[in-house]
């Protein structure tokens, strides 16, 4: 029979005990006991007892084996247990008491919890953005050895290399591993079938790009070098943010195809959450560079390719940055010079610098830290967010602290109760504990409300700051932690003042009644309260003014004259991608235009590089007499003006021949004619007066139209004949409402080239989207202003009641000495309204300063609009007066003889 041994785990535990010299003896004793128990009572019993024995030995071993000190040990643990036994009912008592108390004044609690919740929600929303933009790790391993490789010229640096250059650099570099990426847009389906394609940003990368940055994935596998070889099956790795937002975080997409510009790509992996690659924000997906020409058209990426890419480097271990930079510089200087005058990137204005840059002599290579590792863009977004929204959050937090303070200190008048409890023997610590329990319950409720506020607010903020689709704004543990900490801190902050007050109070005076308290000790808190009132008034008026400005702005925007009939227009945007050639676009458009014009219900169709409200890349800023002057550049065909409904005021518009040959002629808008040719006829003049060095001559003047962006008030525009058709979009005028035509137009145009998916949208839609942002901001400002006003009303009312109550005696004396009720009322009103007046002035001043920030969203309403300012000030003054007059009047009507009797 096999000898039974004590349980292994217990023996291991025993070995861990600090038994010192007595180890052998103890182990032998325990073994002997075990053996005898097995014999007497069986294995199960012996094992159980063995465990208990080991534990008993462990207990005494900690205090020097068997020493005298094991006795206090037991006593200590007993004391801790008793402490808990005594505290637990107290805590439950406190909680019950707190809920009962809070239930007694539901109105005040609603305001306090609501206010606290909103403040917490706003702060947490701001933090969500900060967290997503600035704090979250980008998932790049050892970021210090990763750099962006820049070209250095005699007078500047640039980030674009041709793919051919990149191949040469990579092949010669020994001290640094180089990978390339290029960002592009395409239409990507969101399901395995081809429906529901949306324009999406994607990045083409070399095979080792992802693994050079990170070694972890959320799901599936990385892109590998073999994926980036000609003829490899097209695969994609999705960004976590896009996968969550657009595909509902469905893990089953791995292994399934998605259609990118009509080509199926098998999803092989999902990147880690927060991984953005080399950019600030992640693309929807990373695709192998070898598939670039399939998706975007044009020539494949190879040694001869002149397509531009960004180059990323990971410096080899043991090599310094300077060494790697020096090596790459010497390789770069030997690169064959590039001539890139009509490269794929050359569109009208911007290409100038780039083509020029390629002509310049390359002097070497500079390393820059990656954009995604805390670049300039992130910092700027963070600054805007911090300044604008934390201000609001802080102000609200302050207001809430004030409300909670009032709630606890005066609204539920506690002093008497606290005095009674102290008098019958409650300890001060016990009282403080109870008050803190109350405010923590408030904080907990506030946190729940805050969470709801955050869920509501984050998408609105995302619209306001135009957060990219791929920015990951789902609440993560960091955000929730922030929320919890804010709630606890603000709850404790709110509870602290009354708690301190309670712990310092003397026993007698609260019991003697309210009148006895007016001994002048309330001076300092009263001043603090006045200051809080002032701050509240200032913050409310600031928010009220912002709300009024934005509301007036959106109201105006809804009525704004865009200068043409936007209601019947559709815009067709095809996805050519970066690789498409000009010839391809030319043949595409000539076919597509005829087909669209044949659709019943279409009145006309014209090409333009910037159809109405299609972005603002065309903005050019000139300096004229020292000031900024913004002119929108557009390229159109001959019929564009008629199609969108701009009238020809002078001269004529382009002929088909001028468009075909790209003649040096321009059409200007009325504003340009007025500003640059006052009292003259601009027809036949040179454009050089507007843009220096221009060789174009003006052939016509058309009516003003706000075609670029609604918020840009300038309607100065220059139209050139449509040159490059690759950048063109089609504008369609419908005979009737354009929405029913969307399907027919898509059906007509898609067969032209099934690889090119098209986006058809009505101009009204675009206009709505243009207004959406200020509208959302106006809504937010109105909500915040309403809350701030409500809080200010409650705060001012409460504080005035408290202050006036403390002055009852003084009022009685004044009345007895012959003052009229009217005198007293005037005195009290003046005293109470003074801090409000000061706060108001400060708030107006702040509004004047911040007005500039929102000026861009106001659609022609001045940021110092007197109506908005006056309205806001009047609303606040009215509210404040009501809040002050109610308690003051009852105080002024006090009976002097009853007051004097209490003295």
């Amino acid at each position: 029979m096999k000898a039974t041994r004590p349980p292994g785990l217990a023996r291991m535990l025993l070995r861990l005990q600090p038994l010192g010299r007595r180890r052998a003896e103890v182990e032998a004793d325990l073994g002997e006991l075990f053996a005898s128990r097995v014999e007497a009572r069986g294995v199960r019993h012996a094992r159980r007892r063995y465990y208990l024995d080991v534990l008993s030995v462990a207990r005494i071993a900690r205090f020097g084996f068997g020493g005298m000190r094991s006795a206090p040990d037991a006593r200590e643990s007993r004391r801790a247990f008793h402490l808990w036994r005594r505290a637990a009912p107290e805590i439950i008592q406190d909680l019950t008491y707190a809920t009962r108390l809070l239930r007694r004044s539901p109105g005040a609690v609603t305001i306090a919890v609501g206010g606290l919740g909103i403040a917490i929600g706003v702060s947490a929303s701001v933090f969500t953005f900060l967290n997503a933009v600035a704090f979250r790790s980008t998932g790049v391993i050892e970021p210090s050895s990763v750099v962006q490789v820049m070209r250095a010229y005699p007078n500047g640096i640039g980030d674009a290399w041709t793919y051919g250059d990149y191949v040469q650099l990579r092949e010669s570099a020994r001290t640094i591993r180089l990978e390339a990426s290029l960002r592009d847009g395409a239409r990507v389906s969101q399901t395995a079938d081809r429906d529901g394609a949306r324009s999406t940003s994607l990045t083409f990368v070399t095979g080792g790009y992802l693994s050079a940055l990170s070694n972890r994935l959320f799901l599936g596998r990385m892109l590998m070098p073999f994926d980036d070889s000609p003829g490899a099956a097209p695969v994609a790795v999705l960004s976590h943010a896009w996968w969550s937002r657009r595909l509902g975080a469905d893990p089953a997409v791995v292994g399934r195809p998605l259609w990118v510009n009509g080509t199926p790509f098998t999803v092989v992996g999902i990147a880690e959450r927060g991984f953005t690659g080399t950019m600030d924000t992640p693309p929807a997906m990373w695709l192998p560079g070898a598939t670039f020409h399939v998706v975007s058209g044009g020539s494949p990426l190879d040694r001869a390719s002149s397509t531009t890419v960004g180059v990323l480097g990971r410096v080899a271990a043991g090599v310094s940055m300077a060494q790697a930079e020096a090596e790459l510089s010497s390789i770069a200087r030997q690169l064959s010079p590039q001539r890139e005058s009509s490269g794929p990137e050359s569109s009208m204005t911007r290409s100038g610098d780039r083509a020029q840059a390629f002509d310049e002599e390359l002097v070497g290579v500079r390393f820059q830290p990656l954009a995604s590792l805390g670049g300039k863009g992130r910092a700027q977004v963070a600054i805007v967010l911090v300044t604008v929204t934390t201000a609001i959050g802080l102000v609200l937090l302050l207001a809430c602290v004030n409300v909670a303070n009032l709630l606890l200190a005066s609204a539920i008048s506690r002093e008497r109760e606290i005095g009674v409890r102290l008098a019958i023997g409650a300890s001060r610590g016990r009282l403080v504990r109870q008050l803190l329990t109350e405010s923590l319950s408030l904080g907990l409720a506030g946190a729940v409300v805050g969470l709801l506020v955050m869920v509501w607010l984050v998408p609105i903020l995302a619209t306001i700051v135009r957060a990219p689709d791929s920015l990951d704004l789902a609440p993560d543990p960091g955000v929730l932690l922030f929320l919890a900490v804010t709630a606890i801190l603000s709850a404790i902050g709110a509870g602290l003042a009354p708690a301190r007050h309670a712990s310092r109070g003397d026993l007698a005076s609260p019991l003697r009644g309210a009148a006895a308290r007016a001994d002048g000790t309330g001076g300092r808190p009263t001043r603090l309260r006045s200051a809080l009132i002032g701050v509240q008034a200032g913050a409310s008026v600031l928010l009220l003014i912002m709300a009024a400005l934005l509301t007036r702005g959106t109201m105006r925007a809804a009525r704004v004259e865009v200068g043409f009939d936007a209601a019947r227009l559709l815009v067709v945007t095809p996805a050519f991608g970066r690789g498409g050639s000009e010839a391809q676009a030319r043949s595409y458009w000539s076919a597509a235009r005829d087909l669209v014009q044949a659709v019943p219900g279409v009145e006309g169709a014209s090409l333009a590089s910037y159809p109405p409200f299609a972005g603002a890349n065309e903005v050019t800023i000139f300096r004229r007499a020292g000031s900024r002057y913004t002119i929108f550049h557009n390229q159109t065909d001959s019929t564009y003006f008629r199609t969108i409904g701009l009238r020809t005021i002078r001269g004529r518009t382009f002929t088909d021949e001028e468009v075909a040959t790209g003649a040096n002629v321009v059409v200007i808008s009325e504003t340009v004619a007025r500003d640059f040719f006052p009292g003259e006829n601009p027809i036949g003049q040179s454009l050089a007066r507007v843009i220096a060095d221009s060789r174009d001559s003006i052939i016509g003047v058309v009516s003003n139209g706000m075609t670029a962006r609604l918020r840009e008030l300038s309607s100065a525009a220059i139209y050139r004949p449509m040159g490059e058709l690759r950048a063109a979009k089609l504008v369609i005028r419908a005979l009737d409402a354009p929405e029913p035509l969307v399907r027919a137009v898509r059906g007509a145009i898609e067969p032209v080239d099934p690889r090119i998916t098209v986006d058809v949208q009505s101009v009204t839609d675009r206009l709505q989207r243009e207004i959406a942002e200020p509208r959302a901001l106006a809504l937010l400002a109105r909500v915040l202003a309403g809350i701030a006003l409500g809080l200010a009303l409650v705060g001012i009312y409460g504080v005035t009641t408290f202050v006036v109550g403390q002055r009852t005696q003084e009022i009685g004396v004044r009345l007895a000495l012959g003052a009229t009720a009217r005198d007293v009322l005037t005195l009290l009103l003046a005293d109470s309204l003074r801090p409000i007046g000061v706060g108001l002035a400060a708030g107006v001043l702040a509004a004047l300063l911040t007005g500039r920030v929102v000026a861009g969203l106001l659609f022609g309403v001045s940021p110092v609009d007197p109506i908005a300012f006056a309205g806001a000030v009047l609303v606040l003054l009215g509210t404040a007066t009501v809040a002050v007059i109610l308690p003051t009047r009852s105080a002024a009507s006090v009976n002097p003889s009853s007051v004097l009797r209490q003295l």
Binding site: E27, A28, D29, L30, D53, S56, A58, R59, I60
Partner: protein, 103 residues
């Protein structure tokens, strides 16, 4: 001297000289009819030793215990006197009770 220490001391005395922790534990457990952990016995023996009521010595390793030593305990004369004194105190009290208590 606490009750448990007294029991342990008496057990050592009852088991005769040169006894060790295991028989003491078994004796106390049997005598009291409740579970006693070995740790409690060690602690009590150590305290008794510190007070001079017992003394210990390392015994010869035996084959039964896998060649491991045991610590052997003897009651000192001080221990014996103290135990007897305690016993006499109790006896007197019980006698008083048996006689119907003090009037």
């Amino acid at each position: 001297m606490g009750e448990f220490e007294e029991l342990t001391l008496l057990a050592v005395r009852a088991l005769g000289d040169h006894t060790y922790a295991v028989p003491v534990q078994q004796f106390v457990e049997e005598a009291t009819g409740r579970n006693v952990s070995i740790g409690a016995i060690y602690a009590a023996l150590s305290r008794l030793e510190a007070k001079g009521f017992v003394r210990s010595s390392i015994g010869e390793p035996t084959a039964r215990r896998g060649g491991k030593p045991k610590r052997l305990y003897d009651v000192t004369s001080l221990g014996l006197r103290t135990a007897k004194a305690l016993h006499r105190v109790r006896e007197r009290i019980w006698n008083t009770i048996a006689e119907g208590g003090r009037s």
